[in-house]
């Protein structure tokens, strides 16, 4: 159970920091929220840095280097509640598109033969530690962050959305991409984003992670009628490469 004005740490591993930008874009809401928190360690936001234990630790990014993996394990030990923020933390994110065995080839091509690489692989936090809740999205939705933190402050365990992106896509009055013959991962993806990508004219690539009881086989069968295997693979590897193995 989280207490009043909990001690909070906000960490980021390798990523674009866009989810933290979404926190700052909360503006007045961030101000209201942080009054209820005691943020004692947040590298991007402040120089003040106290050591743990922490009541709540929020981690953005994927732990790519051994230092980051060690830091994650230490934070797990020091934190009552550990939460993943955004697709990199929750799914491995865009960096996870790179298959681990291909990394060596690309280190050489991008950095040259002499370079000594530091990264191991781009994996979600859950590959190394138990995580109490995942706030999905690339980037996260600011209001979803507020909802989850408020749930915790109220002493409740936050719940995942029990419906897919399709539900919110209907609410947004979007025509269905799949009915129009265009690939989309909305049916298997957890809601909470408000179908923002489809509303903008882009596909859903599944950055909110799989919904419960996602029918991957069913969707794959439908997609196979719309496009070729390679394109289906590209869709599934955008954010879900470390979630779905060899579907």
């Amino acid at each position: 159970m989280i207490k009043n004005r909990p001690k909070v740490a906000i960490y980021d591993f390798t990523d674009c920091e866009g989810c933290e930008v979404k926190l700052i874009s909360l503006r007045e809401k961030l101000l209201a929220l942080e009054k209820r928190l005691n943020i004692i360690d947040w590298r991007l936001g402040q120089e003040k840095k106290e050591s743990g234990p922490f009541d709540l630790t929020i981690i953005e990014g994927t732990p790519i280097t051994p230092d980051e993996v060690a830091s994650l394990k230490k934070l797990r030990q020091e934190s009552k509640i550990l939460i993943g923020l955004g697709a990199c933390a929750c799914l491995g994110g865009i960096p996870a598109i790179m298959p681990q065995p291909d990394r060596e080839k690309w280190y050489k091509r991008i950095y040259g033969e002499k370079y000594r690489p530091r990264g191991i692989d781009a994996l979600p936090l859950t590959a190394y530690a138990e995580i109490d809740f995942l706030i999905h999205g690339c980037p996260v939705d600011g209001d979803e962050v507020v909802r989850v933190v408020e749930e915790l402050l109220a002493g409740r365990k936050p719940q995942y959305r029990g419906y897919s992106v399709c539900f919110e896509c209907k609410q947004a009055n979007n025509p269905c991409r799949i009915i129009e013959g265009k690939p989309c991962l909305g049916p298997i993806t957890q809601g909470g984003c408000g179908a923002v990508c489809v509303s903008g004219g882009s596909p859903c690539y599944g950055c909110f992670g799989l919904r419960e009881e996602a029918n991957i086989k069913g969707l794959t069968d439908i997609l196979e009628n719309l496009t070729d295997k390679k394109e289906i693979e590209r869709y599934f590897s955008m954010f879900l490469s470390r979630t779905i193995k060899n579907e």
Partner: protein, 402 residues
């Protein structure tokens, strides 16, 4: 393991100082994401979806560089509405990034606070300006791009969706309401005391298909080179203390970003208040740019409202070269994306040079100059100044380790 990273910069870095030799190394710790490898095998249409994820502070700039590269490769000339909407979105991007950096990362150094939100107590008027600028810039990118971070409406040859005139009218109203916030931010930033520093650097910025460079000590003499030679002219080298490459423009330490742009294509109305040889002045330069891009955004929205909006997407040419370069002045300076496609529009080669890669080398040079020019100060004081200097550059380490 628990390294002391420099706080309030984008990404993970710190300094190793050799106090006897006045030498400073900028260590970069970010994990390698290998974006140039990730892109190979993806479609041209996915490039501007993937590359914004290099940086959550300047995603619009990355998306735009990719679109320009792909459209160059496919020989697409976008229509006037698309061009204006993209320019508008880049104005929003500049204000978003500069306001975030100034109010939340950099200005706290000068205002005697730590976390940016403490400004709400310390200087409520300035904090109101910060929120107003953050709000209006987020709204520009939201209205045009569909989301304030990582746009959803952008497409090769145009937009999947363009805003309605009603949305643009609402945006214009908000721009009018926030004009004083932009002006007051300039006043605030020009009223602050910046540490003294004099560094001999190149300042470089993009002008159409050229890179223009001037000397920090004499901004009137201009050198120029062609963007298409960017890879030859911006040399990158590998350092064993960094996962980012370190760049030089034509063999010289170069500063890119707000201060360089004002030296090269500002209207010079603030030249007596800026010191182009002092990188700390990148901070007031960002404030001045907030005002400039705020003004530009208003002008573009007015133009869009005066004419008809053309939502057509331009298709690729049949005999396109399939090789293209896209260059953009991102908030932190010149950003270059290059792409090669096969006949099925699959990416076979990609190259990216970010502004911070160019700035990293000159940060070390400036840090060294700072130590040499402040002999009487204590180590603690010097460490504080060095961190302030790094922050003043507004480095985006996540960009630099793409």
């Amino acid at each position: 393991m628990n390294k002391n990273f420099i706080a309030k910069i984008e990404g993970h870095g710190n300094l190793t100082v050799d106090w006897d030799k006045d030498k400073v190394k900028l260590n970069i710790f970010e994990g390698e994401r290998l974006f140039e490898g990730i892109l190979v095998g993806r479609t041209a249409e996915e490039m501007h979806w993937i590359t914004p994820r290099i940086c959550g502070v300047c995603p619009v700039a990355h998306g735009m560089a990719s679109l320009r590269a792909v459209e160059d490769a496919l020989d697409i000339k976008v229509n006037e509405t698309t061009r204006q909407l993209r320019d508008l979105m880049l104005c929003g991007q500049m204000i978003q990034s500069h306001a975030l950096h100034l109010f939340f990362l950099s200005l706290p150094d000068y205002l005697g606070i730590d976390r940016g939100t403490e400004l709400a107590q310390k200087n409520p008027a300035a904090f109101k300006q910060a929120l107003a600028l953050k709000e209006v810039s987020d709204e520009i990118v939201q209205v045009v791009g569909g989301r304030n971070v990582h746009p959803t409406t952008t497409a090769i040859g145009g937009f999947h969706k363009i805003p309605t005139k009603a949305q643009l009218k609402k945006l214009l109203k908000k721009l009018a309401e926030t004009a004083t916030a932009a002006q007051d931010t300039v006043k605030l930033c020009l009223s602050l005391d910046y540490p003294e520093l004099k560094v001999d650097l190149k300042l470089a910025a993009l002008v159409n298909d050229k890179i223009i460079a001037v000397s920090s000590n004499n901004i009137s003499g201009r050198m120029e080179s062609l963007v298409k030679n960017y890879k030859k002219d911006i040399e990158e080298d590998i350092r064993d203390y960094s996962t980012a490459k370190f760049g030089k423009y034509k063999g010289e330490e170069t500063l890119v970003g707000a201060l360089a742009r004002l030296a090269i294509y500002g209207d010079h109305s603030y030249d007596d208040k800026l010191d182009f040889a002092n990188p700390f002045y990148n901070n007031p330069a960002q404030a001045i740019e907030i005002k400039i891009y705020h003004h530009n955004a208003q002008a573009i929205v007015e133009k869009l409202l005066a004419g008809d909006l053309d939502s057509r997407i331009i298709p690729p040419s049949k005999d396109a070269s399939l090789i293209g370069i896209g260059a953009v002045e991102a908030p932190r300076g010149g950003l270059y994306h290059e792409v090669q496609l096969d006949k099925d529009n699959i990416i076979t080669e990609a190259n990216i040079i970010t502004p911070t890669v160019q700035n990293l080398t000159s940060i070390e040079t400036s840090a060294r100059a700072l130590l040499e020019q402040n002999k009487g100060r204590s180590r603690k004081e010097l460490e504080r100044l060095l961190n302030m200097l790094v922050r003043a550059y507004d480095p985006c380490i996540t960009c630099s380790v793409h």
